[in-house]
Symmetry: C2
Subunit: 350 residues, 2 copies
């Protein structure tokens, strides 16, 4: 199988290097052949090719079973008025590969719970799987500017169609069925027309195809509260692109260790894209101290979802859990205690 | 001065009754004359007049110096496909009175800190004043449905104009100047065109009119994280209608006591509207156990912002602080301990 690597910017190359070693180890141990081409994407691709997602990168991705991304962006490419920015590459690869479902598990490691900003009794037992719609909504709607009596007027349109809503809700509901059987759909149907369609279609899908799962709807503002006050009440949560962006980032604070959270972006066929949820951390890039665990856990998700290698995926997750349980920490999760380097952490997992 | 009361639904009438007693006491003690007409709004107004904001209510409000609202809504009026809903009344009164600035202070009482879902060391010292834009953005943009190749398609448009952005940023910056001198503007300018205009206009206002304040911009997804991980770093935060809806509700969890949080909605002239941020709590309506303190604190904001009675406002806030410090608790903040009734709490403040 071909796994395309997109190391990206900042700490991206360092953490992807460790994930690649894990991939090679899995290949060795379990007798697989993985081809792992590496392609430019993000700020470095803007510098070298004037394009955050050069055509060749996209082609290589399209001809792969799966893609592993490090992180993109950094202050060098941050100017909001620039002609193109690293984010444009992210949005484009999602759209081109039809990666409409972003999966974000939020499950704290009990050994790291003290690093959570939440009290232990609130966060304990939390195990949420978010499904964020990733190729629709306001991030992809029509937008522009015009003159108005009140000065310049800018607009961005949030849209959803029946089929966009149905396919992500269906995927989330299937996953709920394989977990604890509960699905929460988040919208703002008391105010937004687009959310009213979302709520209607979601209810239809559940009623017709998943009458066996426990289903609830929650308003986005209320969900922002519940995530902090009673996170352990949720199982699978499905929502639109922007609400998902905000809520999954809020949720990512709960475990107290951003450095251990992976994400998967899936389409209906074609390769999935896997990445750590943290950014490119330009401040520590090149120092060899970044935490590679989220990227390694993203690799486990890749083995599971795109290559159908459940045993291998579980083995990688088990290795990470053991390393964490044994007390090994990179600087970000060391809480001032003893810390090891990026490659030492890679060694331990391997 | 005329202060129009809109008791609303659920516990609304009970908590507004206590606030009215406080208003009467302030009038007595400080020698003011307040007229306090009471008008229907919300679900009860739908039942009686088929309109959550009957024309007569709006007229009375327009002819007032200030408005005190309890809470509206309840399961009885919750059907998202109903012809009209209590929320429509809220949106309409905001628009009709030009209440473009929603102020939400987030400042925990130290006696109640143990009720926060956050660890004490994270929440301690938090003192944020949110300015949420309230009459623009996606809640008021064009919306509708159409047929598409993918089934039905719904859309809701987020728009902002230069002048809408400038006036709320200006108000927030003025307030920052009177506080700790720091302003944070929240947007999603890395993706949304409407946020790019927001960022541009905000930067211009600050550069030209408030060069003395400390100014920063934060993306909405990052802000959802920072609010949990380092809330005490913020002073005044300004953002659009929907981002503000989500972030202020997230922020409202921090103090651990929803029952003590007021909010003010102001226009450029005309009456301001003041309310507790909590809902109508239909489950405990009529039991005489609701917490009137948020409504009483909203009354203090009313005295300050709409009637310019700073001494009286501070006296009411001081009275609430002393009652809380003395250990008096309604059921919602009693943590299983001894609790008092709505009217007993009113008595103590008075
Ligand atoms: C960088 C940006 C376009 C992106 C998004 O908002 O989708 C990021 O915040 C994310 O969540 O992956
Ligand atoms: C009820 C609803 C229209 C309202 C809003 O979203 O503005 C509420 O959530 C609020 O924050 O006041």
């Amino acid at each position: 199988a071909r796994i395309t690597l997109l190391p990206g910017d900042g700490i991206g190359p360092e953490i992807v290097a460790q994930a690649k070693r894990v991939i090679d180890t899995v290949a060795d141990k379990y007798g697989h052949q993985f081809e792992t081409p590496s392609c430019p994407m993000g700020g470095n691709a803007i510098d070298d090719f004037g394009d955050p997602l050069p055509p060749q990168t996209l082609e290589t991705c399209q001809a792969s079973q799966a893609i592993l991304l490090g992180a993109v962006g950094g202050p060098k490419w941050d100017d909001p008025t620039a002609k193109t920015r690293p984010e444009a590459g992210l949005l484009k690869i999602r759209k081109e590969l039809g990666l409409f479902a972003n999966l974000r598990p939020i499950k704290p490691y009990s050994e790291l719970l003290d690093a959570s900003p939440l009290k232990r009794e609130i966060i304990e037992g939390t195990d949420i799987l978010f499904f964020r719609e990733l190729t629709g909504g306001i991030y992809f709607g029509e937008s522009g500017r015009m003159e108005s009596p009140d000065g310049e007027k800018a607009y961005s349109m949030m849209t959803y169609t029946t089929s966009e809503i149905a396919r992500i809700v269906r995927l989330a509901a299937e996953s709920a069925r394989n977990r604890r059987g509960k699905l929460t759909s988040v919208d703002k149907a008391n105010v937004l027309e687009v959310s009213r369609l979302w709520r209607q279609v979601a209810a239809d899908v559940i009623k017709n195809e998943f009458p066996d799962i426990e289903y609830e709807v929650v308003l986005v503002d209320a969900m922002a509260m519940h995530l902090i006050s009673r996170p352990s009440d949720f199982d699978v949560v499905v929502t639109g692109n922007m609400f998902g962006d905000i809520l999954t980032d809020e949720g990512s604070m709960l475990p107290g260790s951003l450095g251990l959270l992976p994400s998967a972006s899936l389409g209906s066929d074609g390769p999935g894209l896997y990445e750590p949820i943290h950014g490119s951390a330009p401040d520590i890039a090149g120092k060899g101290i970044a935490n590679p665990l989220a990227t390694i856990l993203a690799t486990a998700m890749l083995l599971r979802h795109s290559l159908n290698l459940e045993t291998e995926a579980a083995a990688v997750e088990e290795a990470v859990a053991r390393v964490v349980a044994a007390g090994h920490r990179t600087a970000d999760i060391a809480a001032g205690g003893k810390s090891i380097s990026t490659s030492e952490m890679g060694d331990l997992v391997i």
